[in-house]
Symmetry: C2
Subunit: 240 residues, 2 copies
DNA sequence: CTCCTTCCGTACGCTACCGTACGCATTGGG
DNA sequence: CCCAATGCGTACGGTAGCGTACGGAAGGAG
């Protein structure tokens, strides 16, 4: 299972959803969009908070997490430049129960909700693509739900690293074990142990908040099937 | 957190989505719909299989589960007469990675995919309601993903019983511990232990595949917050 | 250069749940 | 009426990950 090719950006925004639009449609959206920076730990929207804009990442990673009453959180899926942050708006909701938090710093195109909803009405192509991305998100979250229950910490860590690798498009990216532990819903110390195993196996190297993917194939072998399933379904649904 | 009132059916099908439609819209759908029985263990649709019809349950429970390569499964959410089985079709997909399996026998109205898609195009009200149900499903699955990771077997069992209680509309319903163990992603013996605790606490009684909800309030106290969150969000989104 | 913060490695007792297995009670079919 | 199948209770050793804690190394700020 190879990671999706990352074609040279001959044109476009860098976000796969936007770049799937006819150039004329995209041009009409442009005036309403603003490019913003998403700095690590930024909360794009919080649970039960009115969502004012949707975001199309062009770089970096945003995590969708379920916050619990005791303050703990668990990631349900990640969004990179393949997707969109704010799908609940597409489904007619003003808020949701999940939090969207920037996990790896990057940039995104911000589109206010009213402009987005108008665009959805006007551009059938955009509607179709977002619809299929929504379905991909469904797959990812459903698979996560099972994965969280059945698979070991080490497998899930490998999966997380692979998904992030796909989305950041670089072999080295910043992520602390403390953050990772929150995403995976385990102790920080457990991440240290699992990451140590992957590191000693020669798949990754870890140092002071920077992880480097050394042997991607090896990492794929260490991951559970869930990575492959999510990735395959994403490519299948978004092969515009 | 009271369970939603179950108003006497003065009219309608018994399925909340269909009954939220203007009578004229529903009347036009009727010729295309067929009432079918869903017997326990029936697979309504399987992972990676073309979905040929959507189903609107009027009684019984359908579970959406994520099947893993080793044959194990985990429930990601349940669907009763508040919802619809086949949301991926609404999102433009022909298949998905989850399996829909009947968990408590009942009846459903079956609508072929092409008729459903036509209806979605023609009836904006149906589109709006299904859209919001889709959002509710999102909430449920996301919450499940976190719950599966963070909460104890006993809490999750209580949550499952409460959700099912809401959907079957009866204090007593059939469910074996073997099935429950698959839904919760644990051993059958673990279910026995947890169910035993709930039983000795006087919240439920269990005998040969029949569970009886004895003390609903007590069960709510034994459940994690996830039941309340899912239920609140469902009511909020579907309070037509 | 020093101090303080961040980040990571490790350790230890503990708990929940696992895999497996056995036995018993109830139920339905021949 | 008997037997097989189904469903549940229980037991026991094993283990993954927990809560907590301590220490050390790297880096940034003054």
């Amino acid at each position: 299972m190879a990671r999706p090719d990352r074609p040279a950006r001959v044109r476009g925004t860098g976000n796969h959803i936007l770049d799937a639009l006819p150039p004329a449609d995209l041009a009409r959206l442009r005036p309403d969009m603003e490019e913003v920076a998403l700095v690590v730990r930024d909360v794009v929207f919080d649970a039960r908070e009115i969502i004012t804009a949707v975001h199309f990442p062009v770089s970096g990673i945003v995590s969708l997490v379920t916050p619990m009453e005791d303050g703990s959180i668990v990631e349900v899926t990640t969004v990179g430049n393949e997707g969109m942050v704010g799908v609940p708006v597409f489904l007619g909701a003003q808020s949701t129960t999940v939090r969207a938090i920037s996990q790896v710093s990057g940039r995104a195109l911000r589109l206010p909700v009213d402009a987005f909803l108008r665009a959805i009405d006007d551009h059938s192509q955009l509607r179709a693509v977002v619809q299929r991305y929504t379905q991909a998100l469904f797959t990812q979250i459903s698979q996560s739900a099972g994965c969280n229950r059945l698979h070991s910490n080490e497998e899930r860590l490998a999966r997380w690293l692979l998904m992030s690798h796909d989305r950041v498009g670089a072999d080295r990216f910043p992520i602390t074990q403390e953050f990772l532990s929150q995403m995976l819903g385990v102790r920080r110390a457990t991440v240290t142990v699992s990451a140590g195993i992957l590191q000693r196996a020669g798949f990754i190297s870890y140092a002071r908040g920077q992880v480097t993917i050394v042997d991607r194939k090896g990492l794929e072998g260490a991951s559970c099937e869930c990575y492959r399933i999510m990735q395959t379904e994403l490519v299948r649904l978004l092969s515009y």
